[in-house]
């Protein structure tokens, strides 16, 4: 095997493009098969024969399809983002913004909490021994299951809106940050710590000049996971509020009224949001590493 230069076209675009194209093809075929029974039923009820090409044509443009065709979803997204004013309740941008604000608030609190806990765990043996197992155990609990209760209970005592959803995001996002940062703050080797010791550096100096900088790659890797999971938390947090606003509410309302196109467009919006958030963290990662003089 010979080593070749990495090519963007051959190693990235072509394979990913092929797989995506395949997926879209499978999707269209699935649209025809899943939506065809409905067309046959309507035709049978009307007492008419329906040809295959007519079925194919009809399955692509049903009002409430079992599986909407990709172009229907894209049309719906276009319609609800561009053609509606942003402040309107029917605008997807409005719902996405509500979810996004809860996500960001939760992510911010979660990341700060995670970093603080990690600093405590690294510097205090008792915290390390007693807290770490519980931090891990806390994630084997399906916390999303608690989400509706947190929302409803906080609503009952008058706290509603952004904060309850953000709390769920916080709970979900602090864990990857704690685990990553504990690893990162412990990543300096013994020889480097010894060097700091020979400089007679205080614990604070060792922290700011050695531990903190060397934990940056770990921090950003876990921040990527954390931001993705806090979006999930915010979406699930919107389910029990009775479908008021947000992407989760759109999902729930869509499932109540059988509006499959609406569900799929909310899903795509959520996916796009997740992708953008992860990308922003990724850019911050490269920017910080470049600032620190790391080779890309």
């Amino acid at each position: 095997m010979t080593m070749r230069e990495e090519s963007f076209l051959r190693d990235k675009l072509l394979p990913v493009g092929t797989v995506v194209a395949l997926l879209i093809l499978v999707w269209y075929v699935a649209v025809i098969f899943l939506n065809a029974p409905f067309e046959r039923d309507t035709a049978a009820r009307a007492g008419t024969e329906i040809g295959f090409s007519q079925i194919v044509h009809n399955t692509m443009a049903q009002e409430r399809p079992v599986l909407p065709a990709p172009h229907q979803v894209i049309a719906e997204i276009w319609d609800t983002t561009v053609n509606k004013p942003i402040t309107s309740k029917r605008s997807l941008v409005y719902h996405a913004w509500i979810t996004l604000s809860a996500t960001l608030l939760g992510f911010g609190i979660g990341a700060a909490l995670g970093i603080l806990l990690a600093i405590g765990i690294v510097h205090n043996r008792a915290m390390d021994r007693s807290l770490m197992p519980w931090v891990i155990a806390s994630q084997t609990i399906p916390i999303l299951a608690v989400a509706p209760m947190i929302i409803v209970v906080l609503n009952a005592i008058g706290i509603s809106g952004l904060l309850p959803k953000a709390l769920i995001s916080t709970y979900l996002s602090f864990f990857p940050v704690v685990v990553g940062m504990v690893k990162g703050l412990r990543s300096p080797e013994g020889i480097q710590l010894d060097l700091m010791h020979t400089y007679n550096a205080s614990q604070a100096q060792t922290f700011w000049k050695l531990r903190w900088p060397s934990s940056m790659p770990y921090l950003f890797t876990s921040l990527k996971v954390a931001v993705a999971i806090s979006l999930v938390g915010a979406i699930v947090g919107e389910l029990p509020t009775g479908a008021v606003a947000g992407l989760g509410a759109r999902l729930l309302a869509g499932s109540y009224y059988g509006q499959t196109v609406q569900i799929w467009s909310a899903l795509f919006m959520a996916a796009a949001l997740a992708a953008v958030l992860v990308m922003i963290v990724g850019f911050a990662h490269t920017a910080v590493l470049k600032r620190m003089g790391a080779k890309p």
Partner: protein
Amino acid sequence: MNLPILVSAIVFWLAAWAVNEWLVRQRFEGDAANRAARFAVPILFGVTLLVLWEGIVRGFSVPSVLLPAPSMIWQRLINSLPTLAADFRQTFLKAVLVGYALGCGLGFVVAILIDRSPFLQKGLLPLGNFVSALPVIGVAPIMVMWFGFDWQSKVAVVVIMTFFPMLVNTIAGLAAASHMERDLMRTYAASWWQTLVKLRLPAAWPFIFNALKINSTLALIGAIVAEFFGTPIVGMGFRISTEVGRMNVDMVWAEIAVAAVAGSVFYGVVALVERAVTFWHPSIRGGRA
């Protein structure tokens, strides 16, 4: 406000903290004592949390709608064992376990199938990574529409949620064996299957178990959240959402306790199997790695 209870809870907390600080500084004679001490520290911390919780709830007489005391939750749990058992059977034994096995198995098989095609790998790996970051849980309403209210739709959600982490990790794991080792297999004239079974799969186990552990919690979350979108009148997610509506918060907490224990045991079992299978790995051998 009930001051004595509050004060005694706080005293207990401080005392337990002091004991923990003392315990982690001790070096005991013999392995058994050391191991016991290592277990005692987190357990004491957990007990402290419960005592503090009980103390605060009783001390400030927090209304039980807001936060029931642990003792009250325990009472409720004992009293409604049959309901909880039925929910557990519906959600965990049917939806979670079946979906977990199917999703992980499928991810593993697909990873092996596309192993010979670098083209497909290059195409699927970024997509898999992308999908792993997506709020996959959102497909739950669609699955409920397609597969009905019963556990089959929950299985579908769990399969979708667990498939991609498994796929990505298995592909990464299969690439983990070094070139030196693969060249050695070539000099033995080993076939693709022999290389897979004897070298690459063993090297991939740590990655695969990583996915299995991630998936064990994802599966439970997926099944419970999917039940929010519609279920027959049994199941952990169903119970949680209806009892919240009726403000029976202690029942909700009992259900959460069951879910927490089930999730922890599930994770623990996977971790134990991992220790047995990847006994050679530095992180398990107890080296300084």
